[in-house]
């Protein structure tokens, strides 16, 4: 079955091509489109399960499937399009196809009334195909195809409703941020090829340690470059500004791309090239501290956001920070574990907010009212109108806040524990652990605030809308329920010792992660007293955060946007997202555009080369011509003088020197 792994890519690819053709020829055939779209994903999911069973029975060695020779240039550089199925890529395969199918199902309901329905499904299928190429790629270049492919699809999907300038701007911004990251990956590939000579993952795992000196400059540079790529793709500190804007795309897109799959590509890449990172401890510290900082900052911003999707977006950035913190400390399994659980509850949260927004849209249409369907200040008291969505989002909120026994608690606790252990030897990790704790508190706070503002209190969206609010159709709530179950059960994947588990996922991933062992001592999880303290602390933080969040929002009635006074001081800074966007615009984008217009184009190109160079030679020629014409001024005397001068010169030549 594993040799048929390329089917998982082929189905969505075919789906994309068919839906694309339908979109251009007969966009109204919605039934066929949803059939092809969801069918492709389900087919791919079925094959994925088949592969999972086979790998489950296997001993963890990777099987490589060669499709064809991609770039056979010379003996030393011959890149083949091979897919690699090992335990890590199977996990990712299941998450992508599983959550992907659920989201496709949800989109059937959510996008039903949208004219671009076929085009939407074409892009979504294409996205899943590229994501699978990224995950299943056996070498960096092959993953790079998927890496850029998902960037392309996120560009297309974010800018899906291109009629609105803001959406297409957001799409462009996302792609450019990814491209900056891709610069890093490309440079890392060049360095790797010139140093190690191969770009295959297992080739790297074997040969990299011999060639690249431990903690040497080359390997650190490579690792940092790779991490630059990950920050671009997974929206970490320097390049995270595109993710909140990416909410301009349809909500299922946000769920699939900007919560479950694409943004986790960065984490996956770090785990996949773990050997290189383990060889460069400095790079590991950078990854950990960046992750922690991102988690902290994103959480602070989320506290003051009023758009439901913006809150979730910053929450995603923050949770990704956690994953990088985990990977930075060397707890690869914990990173992947949190990735999986996060995929479940964050997808659930997004889809939930999707059905809320969907309901608000319907109400506004029915009441012919206008207003921002995503502004939480216009919502409130929806628990009565949308019980299913309320319960399921509640579960997800508890999960993300880290309340046991839900999935979020186990994965986040694992990360914090790993950071704490690593913190023993290296204060940077201790700082990271501290930041992680604070972020956990804030996560609980803003999630509670979100739930309170949307579902509790009185409906603030105007009484004409209230009667039209009702629960989302079954096709949308169905996937929510599945995701809800997964959020509850998810924790079982990697239960730690004290809870009767055996770190199942960690052992499952060992064949992949052991390559890093010789350079990174294995993390001994704390036992006995410290473990209990850590777990207790995490639980109290979660509960305190939730309580605080609920209390502060519900004690005073939430003000509608019109009524809220302009925020001042810290609140204004948070609401304005630390003005990082404006900073980037002022420092990078603005000057580059000005520089290239004024200095490069008008300055060098038109003035220097064109007017001076080309024009210059033309003017010199004209000048010489003018000089010549001055001699022809009609004065006979002048002509005669020149004549005699000529004779004199001639005579001089004839006579020459003395006889």
């Amino acid at each position: 079955m594993t040799s048929l792994v390329w089917l998982t890519i082929l189905f969505p690819l075919l789906g994309a091509v068919i839906n694309g053709a339908i979109a251009i020829r007969r966009p109204e055939a919605k039934g066929l489109v949803s059939l092809v779209g969801v069918g492709a994903l389900l087919g791919s999911f079925a094959v994925a399960i088949g592969i999972f069973l086979e790998v489950l029975a296997g001993d963890g060695t990777a099987t490589r499937v060669l499709l064809w020779q991609w770039m056979p240039v010379t003996e030393r550089l011959s890149i083949d399009l091979t897919l690699q199925v090992d335990r890590l890529s199977t996990v990712m395969l299941l998450v992508i196809t599983g959550v992907g199918s659920l989201i496709h199902l949800f989109s059937v309901g959510y996008m039903k009334s949208d004219p671009g329905y076929a085009r939407y499904f074409a892009y979504l299928n294409l996205f899943v195909a590229f994501m699978l190429v990224l995950v299943l790629g056996a070498s960096l270049p092959v993953s790079f195809i998927g890496w850029e492919g998902v960037g392309l699809c996120s560009y297309l999907l974010i800018g899906f409703w291109y009629e609105v300038d803001a959406n297409s701007d957001a799409g462009k911004k996302a792609f450019l941020a990814n491209r900056i990251g891709d610069f890093g990956v490309l440079m890392a590939m060049f360095l790797l090829w010139w140093h190690v000579g191969t770009l295959d993952y297992d080739g790297l795992a074997r040969q990299a340690p011999e060639v690249l000196a431990y903690a040497g400059a080359p390997v650190t540079l490579i690792a940092l470059l790779l991490f630059l790529g990950c920050t671009g793709k997974s929206a970490q500190i320097p390049l995270f500004t595109w993710l909140p804007d990416a909410m301009a795309g349809p909500t299922p897109v946000s769920a699939l791309i900007h919560a479950a799959t694409m943004v986790t590509a960065g984490v996956f890449l770090v785990v996949r090239t773990g050997v290189i990172f383990s060889l460069a401890p400095v790079a590991m510290e950078v990854v950990a501290i960046t992750g922690a900082l991102t988690a902290f900052f994103a959480a602070t911003i989320a506290l003051r956001q009023n758009d439901i999707k913006k809150v979730l977006a910053y929450s995603t950035v923050s949770q990704l920070g956690y994953m990088f913190l985990a990977v930075g400390t060397g707890a690869w399994a914990a990173g992947i574990f949190h990735l999986v659980t996060h995929a479940f509850f964050k997808a659930l949260l997004f889809l939930g907010s999707g059905s809320v927004i969907h309901a608000m849209h319907h109400a506004q249409h029915a009441a012919h009212a206008h207003g921002d369907a995503q502004d939480m200040r216009l919502m409130g008291g929806l628990r009565r109108a949308m019980p299913w969505t309320f319960v399921l989002m509640g579960i997800a909120t508890l999960a993300i806040a880290g309340v046991p026994p839900l999935a979020g608690f186990w994965s986040k606790d694992e990360i914090l524990a790993a950071a704490f252990v690593r913190g023993g030897g290296n204060t940077i990790y201790l700082v990271a652990w501290g930041l992680g704790l604070l972020a956990a508190l804030m996560t609980a706070f803003y999630m509670a605030r979100l739930m309170a503002m949307t579902f509790f209190g009185r409906f603030r969206g105007g009484d004409t809308l209230e009667p039209h609010l009702h629960e989302a159709p079954a096709v949308m709530t169905g996937p929510l329920v599945v995701l809800g179950l997964l959020s509850i059960v998810g924790g079982v994947l990697n239960l730690p010792g004290f809870a009767g588990g055996s770190h199942y996922l960690a052992h499952w991933l060992e064949p992949v992660t052991d390559a890093t062992l010789p350079y990174l001592d294995r993390l001994e999880m704390p036992h006995g007293m410290t473990e209990l303290l850590l777990v207790g602390g995490a639980i109290t933080i979660a509960l305190v955060g939730l309580a605080l969040g609920m209390w502060t929002t519900l004690r005073r009635p939430v003000l509608t946007p019109a009524a809220t006074p302009a925020a001042t001081g810290l609140a204004r800074v948070l609401e304005g997202k630390y003005f990082i966007d404006e900073l980037y615009q002022k420092v990078f984008v603005g000057p580059t555009v000005w520089f290239s217009r004024r200095v490069l184009w008008q300055g060098i190109d038109q003035f220097l080369v064109d007017r001076m160079g080309v024009g210059g030679t033309a003017r010199v020629a004209k000048g010489l011509g003018w000089l010549g014409s001055r001699l022809q001024n009609g004065h006979v005397a002048l002509y005669l003088t020149l004549f005699v001068a000529g004779v004199v010169l001639l005579m001089r030549a004839v006579i020459g020197g003395a006889p």
Partner: protein, 519 residues
């Protein structure tokens, strides 16, 4: 297939037919009634295509030496011979021009309505020149074809262009002509010098190549002369200002031919003549740094300038300057991978920029404007055109899986060993090229539909789809399965490297071991 071709003695007559057919067709076009002109041109182009495709199988990738060689004395007294021959590099260029020719004729089916006879006759003359340059194995013949291209191009831009076409056409001719005159002097000087040293005066490429080492003293000057002529054509940074004007003012057929083939003559010239003749000087540390430096400046500079262009065609013209900078970087990267990459960029740039120009031509045909600000939200009115433009834009940006990436990746990874810092500079273009192309795509196709004039433009009709389809398929094919092409050009690349390898000066790059590692 190869057996069949060998049976009909394909090798002997193919090159002559490819060159001769268009010339024979020109008088026919001039005689026949006007409305038949374009049909003749199309049939000739299609015949050439069918015959030309045979090259793909008849060319034997294994043997790196020149194939299909013919050597007939032409002006015996001066050693000028009608010498033809192709190797890996030129077979690809011939195929590219043979494939794009029918598309070019077909794309100007509607747009050219004045003086059709002249237009198609010039187009066929251009075709002969194009093919001739890549197959000529005699420097005199090469120069004849090189010049043969100038005149038709001048008239194509001059009389069928748009607003200030005369300025653009004259600038184009003067720029190229000055360069090529220098080259003529260099060629004659070389032949004389070598003739004096070896006794036989001949323009044959092999003869000159074998004895180029004799020109120790005048070598540098001759290289500069050759380099200037080709630099103008490539165009390399300071000599590029003719390209945006020529492209903006040329009719679609003209600018496509210009982009797809004429620009490659410069890089072909470097690969075939300039560097192999004087490797010692060309690949010395200082000259290498200058050329590679100019290439990278060209790449980044052109991309930045493209970002702020108000005119769509001028934007694509600057993107061509940026892409061809990669080819020069690849040539001076002096590894088999970087030279293969350079050839790949030459081919894939032809496809993606050719398609971009076709689409812009179709837009111009509908709205008679190229200003980006005049368009907006066309995706709603012309979805197929929007899809084609997006695919071509992403292939031009270098999205892996499409043709742009293969060439650029190979150039960068190949040249990294020798110029790590320059390659780092060049790789930043990955961001800028995405910026300018996506910004343009967005302002033309994906924003508010404001301009009512755009309402009327219909989507691509069958003819236009037929023009774009082969290019789009080519992009995806080369992107995912470049194997066959790489195999065919490998012979030429390896030959080139063997020729220049001994002269390669070991450049101590900054942090040598940091970047070059074990290699």
């Amino acid at each position: 297939m190869t057996a069949f071709l060998a049976a009909i003695g394909y090798e002997q007559w193919i090159l002559h037919v490819l060159l001769g057919l268009p010339l024979l067709a020109i008088p026919m076009i001039l005689i026949m009634p006007v409305h038949r002109a374009r049909w003749i041109a199309l049939t000739v182009a299609l015949i050439e295509l069918v015959l030309g495709l045979g090259l793909w199988w008849a060319f034997d990738p294994a043997n790196p030496a020149m194939q299909f060689v013919t050597d007939v004395p032409w002006i015996g007294a001066f050693g000028v011979g009608y010498r033809l021959g192709i190797d890996g590099l030129s077979v690809m260029m011939v195929l590219l021009s043979v494939i794009t020719m029918p598309l070019v004729v077909w794309s100007s089916w509607r747009s050219v309505d004045t003086k059709q006879r002249g237009f198609y006759a010039l187009l066929l003359a251009l075709k002969t020149g194009m093919l001739g340059v890549f197959v000529a194995m005699d420097l005199f013949l090469f120069y004849v074809f090189w010049e043969l291209l100038l005149i038709p191009m001048y008239f194509l831009i001059g009389s069928w262009g748009s607003s200030n076409r005369l300025y653009a056409a004259t600038k184009f001719v003067i720029y190229t002509f000055v360069g090529s005159l220098l080259m003529l002097v260099a060629i004659v000087w070389m032949v004389m010098e070598v003739g004096r040293a070896t006794g036989t005066y001949s323009f044959a490429y092999e003869h000159l190549l074998a004895h180029a080492y004799l020109l120790e003293s005048s070598g540098p000057w001759l290289f500069v002369a050759f380099a200037l002529a080709f630099a103008v054509k490539v165009p390399i940074f300071p000599f590029h200002t003719w390209l945006p004007d020529a492209h903006t003012e040329a009719p679609t057929a003209g600018s496509v031919d210009l982009a797809v083939i004429l620009l490659k003559m410069g890089t072909y010239g470097f690969l075939r003549f300039a560097v192999p003749f004087f490797p010692g000087f060309a690949l010395s540390e200082s000259v290498g740094l200058v050329m590679a430096g100019l290439a990278v400046i060209g790449i980044v500079y052109a991309a930045l300038v493209a970002m702020v262009q108000p005119d769509l065609k001028r934007l694509v013209a600057y993107s061509s300057v940026s892409h061809l900078g990669f080819v020069i970087l690849g040539i001076w990267g002096s590894t088999v991978e970087s030279v293969q990459g350079a050839i790949m960029v030459m081919i894939s740039h032809g496809l993606s920029t050719g398609a971009l120009f076709f689409i812009i031509g179709m837009l111009y045909e509908r709205r008679h404007t190229r200003k980006i600000s005049d368009f907006g939200g066309l995706a709603r009115v012309a979805p197929l055109m929007a899809t084609a433009f997006v695919i071509t834009a992403f292939s031009s940006i270098g999205l892996p899986g499409l043709n742009g990436f293969v060439g650029e990746f190979l150039v960068l990874i190949g040249a990294f060993g020798r110029y790590p810092w320059l390659v780092a500079g060049a790789t930043t273009v990955v961001v800028f090229s995405a910026a300018y192309l996506l910004w343009a795509t967005q302002r033309v196709f994906f924003n508010r539909f404001t301009n009512p004039l755009n309402e009327g433009i219909g989507d691509l009709n069958m003819r236009e789809i037929a023009v774009l389809a082969p290019l789009l398929l080519g992009m995806v094919w080369i992107g995912l399965y470049p194997g066959p092409i790489l195999r065919r050009t490998e012979g030429a690349a390896r030959m080139y490297i063997e020729m220049v390898e001994p002269y390669l000066s070991e450049t101590p790059t900054v942090g040598g071991t940091m970047f070059r590692g074990g290699r």
